[in-house]
Symmetry: C2
Subunit: 476 residues, 2 copies
């Protein structure tokens, strides 16, 4: 429990109207998008300025409580789940788009801006912010930067990190720093900026973010095609790459997922196929049309029976609905949905998918697979009942084997969701102890009292230090 005096000081910093501590509020902010993780905070506050964030962190260092920054809470690794003795900071109210510069192709925003709102604002000006996490309609840019969010356009356009130019950050000590610059080219000193991107709220809190934009593609086409085997899907990806085509989106759904989606959304999908592949091509109209023909030819050659194609926004949205509703559709099958995101090199995808099917059978858990074929980022989704402890154990074994295989194939235990609480126990297996120790030391340099989003990604024993010890260690 945080002391009453500390909470009183906190309330004075943020103002009564920005201070929430009813049981309902604590319950509401006790979890995020990650299943089976819950912890009530001692209080929830809305910081209205960088200066307030600073003051809160100074107080946290003085009083020895933890601070957990939160965007929209859509994260899938527990990054914004509170820890014991913590205060949650809500950023959605800090949601100004400060500038959109059409010559420098940059946008400067507050951390709480919703990603989809930024996308539509820049698109009105003929510009384009490519990162497109599945949560874009609700997630914040700050949360996206904290998790280095990926999404559907990774293959052609990369991830959030590739679009962050500058960050205004409040360090765990409460000190503000400005990382990066508005120049696309900036190599002064060590690249501190990029270690803050994807730091899952543990190294600093972002207040404003300057992003790089692109011109909006002139045209796009979405195509959907069924394949009879996972191996053929692999061949399709390989032949697309060998044809030197880089789709903006290259997604798939496996049989279990297709059936769940069809059952849920009634889209008239073929339920007797091994996989459905979705392709989006964007760019200049003439190029997109030529590439669409090549893609169709490759698919037909590999036996795709029917190829749906959409050029209008409405038709495209309808086709994408199959992929977009995958998670919700699967979620209906069982009380608990565990969505993971191991990634492997593109060429290892078919092998990885067959392994996942094998592991699911052996552990007798219901698994649906879908995800980003183009960048090798899979979303094996385990459907269980968290009250069935044996099923929970079997699902854990399934994921453990899945992660080990991903690493063995030269991939990663997480491609875009982050490590957080959900995957911290696998981190050392994936990166080795030396790297996790290095990460711990970097965290300790920035946050000696371990007040900022502690115990995410990895544990630090100083977390268990008493408040007075913390005071001794306070940076001067």
């Amino acid at each position: 429990m945080i002391s009453a005096s500390a909470l009183k000081a906190l309330r004075e910093i943020v103002g009564r109207e920005n201070y929430l501590d009813s049981e309902a509020d604590k319950l509401l902010y006790s979890y995020d998008g990650t299943p089976m993780l819950r912890q009530k905070p001692d209080a929830v506050v809305i910081p209205r300025s960088a200066d307030v964030v600073s003051k809160i962190l100074r107080l946290a260092n003085d009083e020895g409580f933890a601070v957990v920054p939160r965007g929209s809470g859509s994260g899938l690794s527990g990054g914004s789940v509170p820890v014991p003795n913590s205060v949650v900071l809500l950023f959605p109210p800090m949601n100004k788009i400060l500038s959109i510069d059409e010559v420098n192709l940059t946008a400067k925003v507050e951390a709480g801006v919703i990603t989809a709102r930024l996308q539509s604002e820049v698109e009105k000006r003929g510009l384009f912010y490519p990162p497109d996490p599945g949560s874009a309609n609700i997630s914040t840019v700050g949360g996206n930067v904290a998790e280095n969010a990926g999404g559907l356009r990774g293959l052609k356009y990369g991830v959030t990190k590739n679009y962050v130019l500058a960050l205004d950050v409040i360090l765990p000590s409460g000190e503000p720093i400005a990382l990066g610059s508005e120049s696309v080219k900036d190599v002064q000193g060590l690249n501190l900026r990029d270690i803050f991107i994807g730091s899952e709220g543990a190294l600093g809190i972002f207040t404003t973010i300057t992003l790089r934009l692109l011109p909006k593609p002139e045209h796009s086409v979405v195509m959907m095609m069924p394949f009879d085997s996972i191996a053929t899907v692999g061949e399709f990806v390989a032949e697309t790459m060998l044809a030197r085509i880089t789709p903006a989106m290259l997604e798939f759904l496996d049989r279990n997922t297709i059936r769940a989606v069809e059952d849920y959304a009634k889209l008239g999908l073929p339920t007797n196929v091994a996989a459905l592949v979705l392709v989006e091509l964007d760019g200049y109209k003439s190029v997109v049309e030529a590439e669409a023909q090549k893609i169709a030819a490759i698919a037909r050659k590999l036996g795709a029976s029917s190829i749906a194609s959409a050029e209008t926004l409405d038709d495209a949205t309808r086709l994408k609905l199959a992929r977009k509703s995958a998670f919700s559709a699967l979620a209906r099958l069982k009380p608990t949905t565990i969505l993971e995101d191991a990634s492997v090199p593109r060429s290892k995808l078919p092998e990885m998918l067959l392994k996942l099917e094998e592991f699911a059978k052996q552990e007798s858990v219901l698994v649906g697979n879908f995800g980003h074929l183009g960048d090798g980022n899979l979303h094996p989704t385990c459907l269980i009942n968290e009250r069935d402890s044996d099923e929970v154990r079997r699902s854990e074994r399934f994921f453990e084997r899945a992660f080990e295989t991903a690493v063995k194939f030269g991939g990663a235990i997480t491609g875009e969701h982050g490590t957080g609480l959900a995957k911290k126990k696998y981190l050392e297996m994936a990166t080795g102890k030396t790297q996790v120790d290095l990460m711990r030391k970097f965290k300790q340099i920035l946050d000696p009292n371990n007040v900022l989003n502690p115990s995410k990604m990895f544990d630090i024993e100083s977390l268990f230090r008493s408040k007075c010890e913390r005071k001794i260690a306070r940076p001067t």
Copy 2:
């Protein structure tokens, strides 16, 4: 001086045939591409494997000498200039291209591979490695990663960092680690990989590097056009951006540079104009041709008297020669050529260029300006005689004012050359003390004895610790 016993142990580690210590060798490796920086090493060695690099670094920690990794020595910030009591490690002999994967679009190379060789090898397969530093014909991939090298294609394709997937690194302690993965999507733990990119040889030594590749553009056009004023050049850049065109190359030469080039290469350039702008467009033929027409229309509207255009490789190379020979041409005018690379947001370029002309006049130094219009990365080049101490002082004042202005405009003191020895004294002005202190702490965590390329970017007082103190501090 490194002790005779330490040098003997070093010779045994690398083998006599890989150990150089003649006065000629020491002189040959006492400098790099940066003017006015010279320091003889105690020895120069060729490590033939990662294991040998490991052993050398362990010895350096035991014996308390410094290790300076060196690619081709083409760096322009002194990154590979030896320090007192140092051994230079030469990487060009580690030059195997280990694999080129046409489905995953990756290349795995040893650190000593020459960048242009990698480019031509992947282009033979219809692939493309975009980073294109001016030194590409001689610089190594390892050196490019160490400096996060930029180049001519930054606007459209970004810099070296955007293409590094995985790094095999030997830490200063001698311990090997593997950073990143072959997956394009990888967010496990903190992003350690990217702080090693651009770390100027001070955090670790790269042995193998896995790079991301793109499909090779189908077609390209190079255009050259003169403008009567710097302000018009700014309008040209702005209108190009507003037309949503992203050239692969957008370069310029100012009057002084044009005259030097014409005098040197006799290309028939117009010497009575304020600036020459070079544009390269690449992509699908139909798109490139349409964009070329738009660019020409914008240029004509802004008064460009003549527009040269080249579609064949030979013609394009001829046009590019004006830009490529800028440095050599300017270098002929005076004994000493100081090439810098401040960067500013694109829209600030004209203002910045006028400032540079003003500073050059006020400090009465001869300055030629050229560089990367598209990404705001300028190369003010000061031509002096280093034996004229007053002229040296005036050139220093010129650059100091240039860097302060770049930072004031939201830019950086270095866009692509790095901080090294040449710009370390400006680093704190550019990033603030808090950031430099953080950089120091990160360096100290990785290199407590400060043996690896010490005193580059910033100084660390432990550098001046005695050998025995170093031994005490040795990591266990």
